[in-house]
């Protein structure tokens, strides 16, 4: 196979776009893990559920509980509505799935997040049916030409929004009191509480923030695929893999791991095997776990981040 720079650049852009999605969801994992010490197995549903809510108000007609409704709203309004809704969702999730179990170790919380995941996936099926739904894109064209390159504007949007969010997160964690309190809670809850951090509230805010990261990833990725009840599951597993590849608990690790998995997977799917494309992330994961279990950025960074 001869080397085609244009095709490779296109693959790179698309890989970075997928990688950005993994990075955002991985950030959600890491923030919750750092704050409460558990992996949230409903993270994928933080992506899926808001996507369904969004299409309900983006499409001119959609079946809800089997009845066709016409609830179309302006795009900006829909995005705001979904974000506000997911703030409530994050608070509720914290209340139901985490808070009652907070003193019982990590396993019960993992099980209850699994319960939430089962609940939401099937609630989605009940409400919106099992047919995939197409989310309308913000862009009139599928691809734009930049010189010889054909690039999807949606990919560029994903990469751009992710970059802004990462910059925002850096600002939040380094420059604001809230961010510092979140970091303090992640490092040592008992000490954070001693110096006056309201740990319970910070944990709730972390769940909300993580739900919002999932929401934004869902809104960004849905126009590229379709909205289904399974859409979040594989994204979340790969994001989880990405966060371990990067070094679990490490914020830069989650970002780099996510981007790396997205790019390697896209190239692997093109050059090696499209049938096994979903296995690539996990092969990388197992390799990293065996050779460098602390991940690329290790635990040391996690303590600082």
């Amino acid at each position: 196979m001869h080397f085609d720079p244009v095709a490779n650049l296109q693959l790179l852009v698309s890989g970075l776009a997928f990688g950005s999605i993994y990075a955002l969801v991985a950030l959600g994992f890491v923030l919750i893990y750092n704050a409460v010490g558990v992996v949230n197995f409903a993270q994928g549903e933080f992506v899926m559920f808001p996507s369904y809510v969004a299409v309900t108000f983006l499409l001119p007609a959609i079946a809800v509980f089997g009845t066709v409704v016409h609830w179309q709203l302006p795009v900006v309004g829909v995005y705001l509505l979904v974000l506000v809704l997911m703030v409530g969702f994050g608070l509720l999730f914290n209340r139901i799935a985490y808070h009652p179990l907070r003193d019982r170790g990590w396993m019960p919380v993992v099980i209850s997040t699994i319960g939430v995941s089962i609940f939401l996936r099937n609630a989605a099926q009940l409400i919106w049916g099992s047919q995939p739904i197409v989310m309308p894109s913000l862009f009139a064209v599928d691809t734009i030409s930049v010189g010889p390159l054909h690039i999807r504007p949606q990919d560029l949007l994903i990469i751009g929004v992710t970059a802004v969010l990462i910059a925002f997160q850096f600002f939040l964690f380094e420059r604001t009191t809230l961010g510092k309190q979140m970091r303090a809670t992640a490092q040592d809850r008992a000490t954070a509480r001693l110096v006056g951090v309201r740990v319970g509230r910070i944990v709730a805010i972390t769940f909300v923030y993580s739900a919002l990261l999932g929401t934004i990833s869902g809104l960004l990725v849905a126009p590229l695929f379709t909205v289904t009840k399974e859409m979040g599951a594989l994204i979340a597993l790969k994001a989880f893999a990405a966060s371990i590849v990067g070094g679990f608990g490490s914020i830069p690790g989650a970002i780099v791991g996510g981007l790396a998995i997205g790019v390697i997977e896209t190239f692997g799917g093109f050059y090696i095997s499209s049938a096994y494309v979903d296995a690539i992330a996990f092969v990388i994961l197992i390799g990293v776990l065996l050779l460098r279990p602390q991940g690329l950025f290790g635990e040391r960074v996690a303590e600082k981040a």
Partner: protein
């Protein structure tokens, strides 16, 4: 007290043996047989997680490896069923060894994720290795086991194979729990460093746990294949592994009866909820959350505390 236990055990055994005499619906018998088979998988997971404290989310993959090994040997090589079942167990145990060994350095969430990765890769292989697995169409025509001319071809007859297998697996698990290996595993679960310091070869015992969990799931997979006579890759998903984990935790992770109880109860729960039609799995999810919140030590813990409450009262009065 032990005498009443023996009596209760014998009565339970007789009651269990009589089930197919009273249940005639084929559908209900399938559900019962499957519950027994899942109980075996969950017991295997119980050895790994409950006894040794190692979380695996690949039990469904081992179930699949057992099912496909057995299915392939009987349909492609024409092996009889019983040696195929043994081979399925061995195959899953060996792969358990292969997965367990490199995973020894991992624990907690890391181990969970490595096993998730293994499970997803296994399922992709089952879907894509068409020359052996027949891809997503699945494998058909898997024969039923027989002894002499007696063929276990109805769900009522198959029930007895499952019953014997469940009892045998429970016995083995109980022997493990109450002997040296079980105590070593428990020590590792509570504090691996301390266990090593007292001279326990943690590496060896953890591998034993992985191999046993693999063997249990392999046997269960084979039992499932010869019961349904048809297997396809979508039954061996990550979601299915999650279901097994939930069964174990809800039942009570470190007890054998908890594993069986959890598997049977959660397998029947959707059947009980079926009148709710489309919303039943949703309610199932909510029930899982409620159980984990309100029953900290699982069903077994709940039963124990109920028993304690009822037996304490007379004593207090006396």
């Amino acid at each position: 007290m032990p005498k009443t236990n023996v009596l209760a055990g014998a009565a339970l055994l007789v009651a269990l043996a009589l089930v197919p005499q009273f249940v005639h619906s084929d559908y209900l018998l399938t559900v019962i047989d499957t519950a027994g088979i899942y109980a075996i998988v969950v017991m295997g997971l119980g050895i790994l997680l409950g006894f040794a404290g190692q979380l695996s989310l690949a039990q469904a993959a081992f179930l699949g490896i057992g099912a496909y090994t057995s299915g392939w040997l009987t349909t492609n090589l024409g092996w009889p069923v019983w040696p195929s079942m043994a081979a399925a167990m061995l195959m899953s145990a060996l792969i358990g060894l292969g997965v367990g060994y490199p995973c020894l350095r991992l624990s907690g969430h890391y181990l969970a994720l490595a096993t998730i990765g293994f499970g997803i890769i296994t399922q992709l292989v089952l879907i894509n290795w068409k020359s052996v697995t027949n891809g997503s169409d699945g494998m058909t025509g898997i024969p039923a086991p027989q002894i002499g001319s007696f063929v276990f071809d109805s769900y009522g007859r198959y029930y007895y194979i499952v019953l014997v297998a469940v009892l045998a697996c429970a016995y083995v698990a109980w022997r493990i729990k109450t002997t040296r290996v079980g105590r070593a595993l428990e020590a590792i679960r509570e504090n691996e460093i301390a266990a090593r310091a007292t001279g326990i070869d943690a590496t060896r015992y953890k591998i034993i746990a992985f191999v046993l969990a693999g063997a249990y799931a392999g046997l269960a997979g084979s039992l499932l294949a010869h019961m349904t006579k048809f297997i396809s890759p979508d039954s061996y998903s990550f979601d299915q592994s999650v279901v097994f984990l939930v069964m174990l935790i809800v039942g009570g992770s470190s007890s054998i009866s908890g594993a069986i109880l959890g598997a049977v109860l959660l397998w029947f729960l959707p059947e009980v909820l079926r009148p709710l039609k489309a919303s039943y799995i949703m309610v199932y999810g909510a029930a899982v959350i409620a159980m984990i919140v309100f029953m900290p030590r699982g069903l077994v813990g709940l039963l124990e505390s109920l028993r304690a409450r009822f037996t304490r009262r007379p004593r207090e009065a006396a």
